[in-house]
Subunit: 379 residues, 2 copies
């Protein structure tokens, strides 16, 4: 059976990218590779909306999350962690590993953090050195209001805003320079439509100042080393050569279609998916704060989401992601990032309709596909 | 011009591996990928010659070197670093980053460490917690006598032997269990004939005991997490999916041809290269302690090695590596690892003969190729 990977990371990789990476390997300490590395870095700056150097790490996104903390904070520093899902939790774990004290601000899964609440917490805790948050929380499909959070930190020199943008950068605009973010992280297997294995990270001048005072030990993930080498068009350690070559191909494609068109594409796929499922009575888990990177859809009352996920896989070869922890069995998650198109969205909605019918669930059959199709006409 | 990558990492990747990795991506939290991950882990155990779990990290080899220290040692611990080249130096830098004290034992570049000297140092420093060494020092082409060094540590519970086997594991036998090594590290872009992006690391039970006492902070490179997840056929963070798929294909190939035949292949390519160059008067930089993973050849007296390297590239599209630091301009380095064969070795020797002729260097023209060819007949 043909497989349709529709998970929010890894996402389907375009054939031209896979084939680019399948070409004979080249050595990394050559002018040829340095040109590719440097072009990729320039391309990343556009997607990260910054003039600062975007660093390419051979690691998964978690490596860059680790680096964000271990390079800028010190043992005993206090950080405010916005925890509204699986990846918010990861910030807590990283802080714990490094002896960084945390104030945990819990946000109900499926909801966005309220900047006003952050403002209150900051008022009562003038010693907070960093705010840690996700731009798009992959486990819930929520977009957090980064622009508004940045307003609370950008004019202060004693606090930095660290944003996990792994499922955001490239999916929708996250304006690093304009908004005044201090650290922003991306990952290859998300909107960059690549296989996993690369992480990206950019630091503001303020964050680099923090890095000079950080007393946490690091070597492989030492961003100062990565920065120094990136300016020389290379990396301190052997880079993941083929993945960087693939990335460069993707960024060339982004240049050709334009970032606006990429963002618009995700937005339309998101709207079509959310509205399509609504038309058959399935709710959006992140209503009112929906990340356009992915759709997170609630299974109907009384239906276990894992039956939908299993059915999609077994009947149609469609791989969607389930819920984690408290959301397990309640939701399913569909990517809009990567090499997916109108046909994938129509097909997965039709697939869910088919499975729900079999399960005896009552709904307006065909309404989901019809609604989605009408919205997808905008693409 | 066709390019012939002959550097000791990255090495040429077989076409079947590149094409395997170019297949449509799969999700990592699936039975399908777990089967591949687990099969790759089992395959690695054979190459690492161990019953212990070999961990697959999404990083370059330096990531695993970092992890070896940050997971087993503590701040203020004392380590003996065998420094006989660029990668020996790296151990020093990692220790420094983590506040691990070092006793540096310098070894002349191109020479192997004497186990007797290590024995003496250990006698005078009973508080040494770890010995850090390379099995094959890529910058010099030297094989260090790991088996004999392990005899000094394996019966002691208060010291571990940490071996960077990045350019050794898969190239020649490094018997982790039999010799009593405590940590052994490999990298994808060496004898595993893969693109860079994966590192491998295995720990003895003694090393795991050390890890329980280590007070150095770590998160992304936390090997206890990697170990716990590896036993469940997965990794704690998103794995580099396509690279793991490629690795599995390579390990399947190793199974088919047999490890002995792989080791023998490197040995014959090494002998042919070394003897071939000797026949035209070029010396082996690592005489008497030659790693069969690569050949490191001295440029003739009065000839700058960079002219040979530049000539090979410009005239024949052959990419070989030069010397680093103190060996710059004095040597050139040729891989025997990866997808290279008899024709590559004959061609590069013939290429060097051609360039030396042009430079007016006197030698027995054709003798290098003839000697190499006669040895390559054994393959």
């Amino acid at each position: 059976m043909k497989n349709y990977v529709l998970t929010p990371g890894p996402v389907p990789v375009p054939e031209f990218v896979m084939l680019e990476m399948a070409k004979p390997i080249i050595h990394h300490r050559t002018e040829e590779f340095e040109a590719i590395f440097s072009k990729a870095t320039e391309g990343l700056k556009k997607v990260f909306m910054t003039k600062e150097e975007v660093l390419i790490l051979a690691s998964s996104g978690t490596g860059a999350m680790d680096a964000a903390i271990s390079n800028t904070l010190s043992k005993g520093d206090k950080a405010l962690v916005i925890n509204g899902g699986k990846f918010g939790e990861r910030w807590l774990k990283i802080c714990k590993a490094y002896g960084v004290e945390t104030i945990e601000h819990k946000v109900e899964w499926g909801h966005a953090v309220q900047p006003l609440q952050i403002k209150e917490i900051l008022k009562g805790n003038s010693d907070i050195k960093a705010i840690l948050v996700q731009a798009s929380e992959t486990s819930t499909g929520v977009e957090h209001p980064i622009k508004d959070i940045a307003k609370l930190t950008k004019d202060r020199n004693d606090i930095i805003l660290i944003v996990d943008g792994i499922t955001a950068v490239g999916a929708f605009p996250v304006e690093f320079d304009n908004w005044g973010i201090d650290i922003l992280i991306g990952g290859s297997q998300k909107a960059f439509m690549m296989p996993p294995g690369l992480a990206f990270i950019v630091l503001s001048q303020k964050a680099w100042e923090f890095s000079k005072k950080s007393d946490l030990p690091k070597f492989y993930l030492d961003l100062t080393q990565a920065h120094k080498n990136s300016l020389k068009k290379t990396s301190p350690w052997t880079p993941a050569v083929t993945l960087v070559i693939g990335l460069n191909a993707v960024l060339g494609y982004f240049d050709k279609i334009g970032l606006e068109s990429l963002f618009k594409r995700h937005a339309i796929l998101s709207e079509a998916t959310v509205e399509g499922f609504k038309a058959i009575g399935l709710e959006n888990f992140a209503e009112g704060c929906t990340s356009t990177a992915l759709s997170v859809i609630k299974a109907p009352e009384g239906v276990d989401a894992s039956l939908i996920i299993k059915g999609l896989k077994e009947k149609y070869g469609m791989i969607v992601a389930g819920g984690q922890d408290q959301a397990k069995g309640k939701i399913f998650r569909i990517t809009h990032m990567g090499y997916v198109d109108k046909g994938d969205i129509i097909a997965v909605i039709a697939g869910v309709e088919g499975i729900l019918s079999e399960l005896g669930h009552k709904f307006d059959s065909g309404a989901g596909v019809a609604k989605a199709t009408s919205i997808l006409d905008k693409l």
